[in-house]
Each structure stands twice: as structure tokens, then as C-alpha cells.
Amino acid sequence: MDYNSMLNPVVRDMKPSGIRKFFSIAEEMDDVISLGVGEPDFKTPWHVREAGINSLRSGKTRYTANAGLKRLREEISEYMYRRFDLKYSVPQVMVTVGGSEAIDLCIRSVVSPGDEVIIPEPCFVCYDPITRMSGGIPVPLETKVENCFKITPEELEAKITDKTKLLILPYPNNPTGAVMRREELERIAPVIERHNLFVLSDEIYAELTYGGSRHASIAEIDGMYDRTVVVGGFSKAYSMTGWRLGFACGPEPLISQMIKVHQYAIMCAPTTAQHAGIEAMRSGDEDILEMRGQYDMRRRFIVNAFNSIGLDCFEPEGAFYVFPSIKRSGLSSEDFCEKLIYSKRVAVVPGTAFGESGEGFVRVSYCYSIEHIKEAVSRIKDFLDEFGV
């Protein structure tokens, strides 16, 4: 059977994530020390796990309402106000299978064939393929290290055409660790408003914002609330990756469309996870504080470590990644990562896995203990010395 001719060409031509390749190499080798994964090393706090277990014990094993348990939606609504000063009523909140599903639903609900979607790069790998599946046209916006990987109004303006429908705003950013502070969001907001764009603000790393001020959402900026869907989740804030629980908040006319897609594709987010999620939002603020404190120390440590072995590393203000430049090695990102893993058994991800503008950089995760980071950086130093870099 000639599958190729029968498959959906959009799916057939979709490339598997570039992150995978290095992980397959790593998985086949012994003694690999990884700085590769994008998932917390902390376990889900015990009280949250217990809430999940208790829900199973008491037989809460059925579907929930499509949009999620009402109590969880209420908790999310309170949480958004408490932590980010954003007011969403329950009908403006829906519970999803991780932040990923919320991204998928939002793009599918907004983008029609031929619509252009502006995607700042380097960025998480899912926006481009999901846009294509909706028949949309991804328009990459290459952010620059000299702007700390933030979007400027001029760069944004230059990418907008009369077909532009949606702007993806992935901050705090995976892989760069960049954040956009309130003043920077205020500068791009008028451009968004003038061209009447929707915004999908992927704020999955919101709780992992370091430095003086808390995370600011574009939805807080004048004129943005009614055109923004905020995607959030439990994975990064509460170390709940495997529970697959996320949410979207936004204007009701848009959320209600997303709920329809969700209803047909997914039915509802896992019930056990939703019960655990209620507990996380109710009494997990302390856990966030503790974990963020740990990440912050590692962040300072790893930035200093890379700079001191001569790989320039701009100071990220969010998420749990650093994005050091490897340009002085003269190698491409892919070559650098491949040589590094084969010769020193350290796994990092080439910047190009997150878009072409990631060339010359590698993504390094600091979801690891200080001792682990020390060992990995010392191996990278040996690598640089040996290759005379």
C-alpha cells in the first residue's frame, strides 16, 4: 500500500522534534550526564499527590464536565487573580490536558487556512506544526541575543501583513529563558491593537520568573485582555508534568469555542489530575516559593559557570534554561552537541531544535542538582580545551 500518497501531506511532511535525535543518542550510551530535559527534577509535592490518591480511594473515577471540575475552575480563577492580578470568571476558564492541549485548541479555534501566525523564535517546538495543521502559515520572528531574545515593536510590525491573525507570545521562554517585563509588553501592545491581532500568551513558566518583579502577563496591559488567551499549567509550577494538567483563560466567546474542540477531541482532562490540581492551587504557593528559590540558585550558578569557561551566556530571567553561545567554537549547534555527547558524554540540545535563529547556541537545562551541573560543566570545559576552542 502506498501510504505516502494516501496520508495527509501536512502530517507526512511534518518533521519530528529536533530534540529527540540527541536523546536517542544519549539513551544508547552509558554514563551520559544530561543537561537536556525540560522537566523539573522535583517530585510533585506530597500533599498534592495525596489529593490525587484520595480522589481515587473515594471512587472519583468518572468523566468530569468538559471544561473541567467547577471547583478547579474556581481555584484557577482565584489563582490568576492572587498571583497575576488577572480577573477571569469561571466561564472564562477551561481545564486542559497540559498547556500543550490549550495551545492546540487556541490555534485551531483561531486560525483558518491562509492566516498567518507570528511565532517568535527560538521557541518551544509545537507552535509551527500546529499552525500548519490548521492550514495556517507560520511566520517566524527571529529574536536576537542583543535584545535579550525579547520582541521589539519594530520587529513585530515588520512581520505583520493583512493576513496576520495571531501572535504567539512564549514568555518566559523555552529555550532562551528570556522574559518580557511589563514595560516591554506595553511597547508591543499598541502594534497588536492597531493590527487587530489575537494573542496566544504561553505562560507555562510564569511562576519561574526571577529577579525583582513578578511575572507580568500581556493580558494585564491596556487593550489586550479581550484579545488574549493565557495558557497556564501545573507541570512547571508544581512539578506535575506527568499528570497532564493545564488550563486556558481568555474572553468567553473564544474559550467557549475552544471548549467545543476539546469536547470532541479529548472529552475532559484526567479526573485524578484535576482533583490533585485543586489541592495544588489551594495550598501550593509555598511549594512554588521553595522550588523557585532552588532554581534561582542553580540559575546563578550555571550562568556563572558557563561564562567562566568562556561560553557567553546572557542572564535568563525565567524558566529553567540557559542558552549559552557556542559561536567561538566555530561549530554549528548540531556539530557541537554531537561532538560533545560522543567525546564527553554530556547531552545538551542544539539551539536549532527551536528554530533556525537558535544557530550558534545550545539549550542547557538546570533541572539538576548543583553537583550534577558542576560535573557536566567540567566535562564541557574539558571538551573545549581538547578541541582548542
Binding site: I19, R20, F22, V37, E39, D41, M297, E371
Partner: protein
């Protein structure tokens, strides 16, 4: 809690320079602060966490529960202070509940520990009774897991 103290409590092996970087301080500030903690008797010493089972030269540890008749005016102080002078004694705690002092004793053999209790602790004036519990296995010591080889089970998703 003092941030520097908290870090050292996690890992006393961190250098002053490491701590300075992690907390965004000057190395000199960190050193001075630690010296002050030492001088004030807040940090009383540094020791490694050892999994003795992996060493040939194994040590035996026992928890001794001691019931004491407290002395007038002195309470438990004088007996506790007497007990802590023995080299074999690792730690001494005043306890609430069914007994008064918990004493951790270390020796080369079970017999050595048992004899120490029988000859040195039990005959003391105010000691009413002792109960010796030998430690058979340590799973966690001072917050450090000893036996569990926890693997990183995170998989590479995307």
C-alpha cells in the same frame, strides 16, 4: 532561616565562592558570615555523611533509651553532661514521652556497645533503667538517602 546556613545544611561541602554565586553575594561577605556563625557557636562542626555499611571498618550504633531520676535543682542537666563526655557517645537528647534521654552510642561490635551500656551507663547514680536498640540498617542519614539509588526516570519527550 539564614540562607547561607540553609545551603550549608544541604551540603557543607559548598565552597564560599559557590555559595556567593548561588545567592548573588560577594565571596568575602559569605566567608565573614560563616566565620561569624562558627564563632557564635551556631555552626558547631562539619562532618561527612558516611554510609558505614560500604566501609569494611563497620561501626555498630545503638539507640539507648534511659530513664533518669532527675536531681533536685539540676533536673536532667548534670546526668546529660556526664553522659556526653564519653567518647563512645555520638549524641544525647532530652526527650518527651516514655523515657528521658536518648543516647546514640557507637562501637566496633555489638558486644562492645552492650558492655559500654552495662558498665558505664547503667550503673550511673541517677539512671533508673536503660533499653538498648541496635541500628540494623540506615536508609537515610541527616537528610541524605543512603540506600536508594534513585535513577533519573525523566524521559526525553520533545
Amino acid at each position: 532561616m539564614d540562607k547561607i546556613l540553609k545551603l550549608l545544611n544541604d551540603n557543607a561541602h559548598y565552597s564560599d565562592a559557590d555559595i556567593a554565586v548561588m545567592l548573588g553575594m560577594e565571596e568575602k561577605e559569605v566567608s565573614e558570615h560563616i566565620r561569624r556563625l562558627e564563632r557564635d557557636g551556631i555552626i558547631c562542626g562539619y562532618k561527612p555523611v558516611v554510609d558505614w555499611e560500604k566501609e569494611d571498618d563497620t561501626l555498630v550504633t545503638a539507640l539507648i533509651e534511659i530513664k533518669v531520676i532527675p536531681k533536685q535543682d539540676e533536673g536532667f542537666e548534670s546526668i546529660a553532661k556526664q553522659i556526653m563526655t564519653f567518647e563512645e557517645v555520638e549524641s544525647v537528647y532530652l526527650m518527651s514521652g516514655g523515657f528521658d534521654l536518648a543516647v546514640m552510642v557507637q562501637g566496633k561490635t555489638f558486644r562492645e556497645v552492650a558492655m559500654f551500656v552495662a558498665k558505664r551507663l547503667a550503673p550511673m547514680d541517677s539512671v533508673q533503667s536503660t533499653a538498648t536498640h541496635f541500628v540494623l540498617r540506615r536508609y537515610k542519614e541527616m537528610g541524605v538517602k543512603l540506600s536508594a539509588d534513585e535513577e533519573d526516570d525523566r524521559s526525553f519527550v520533545i
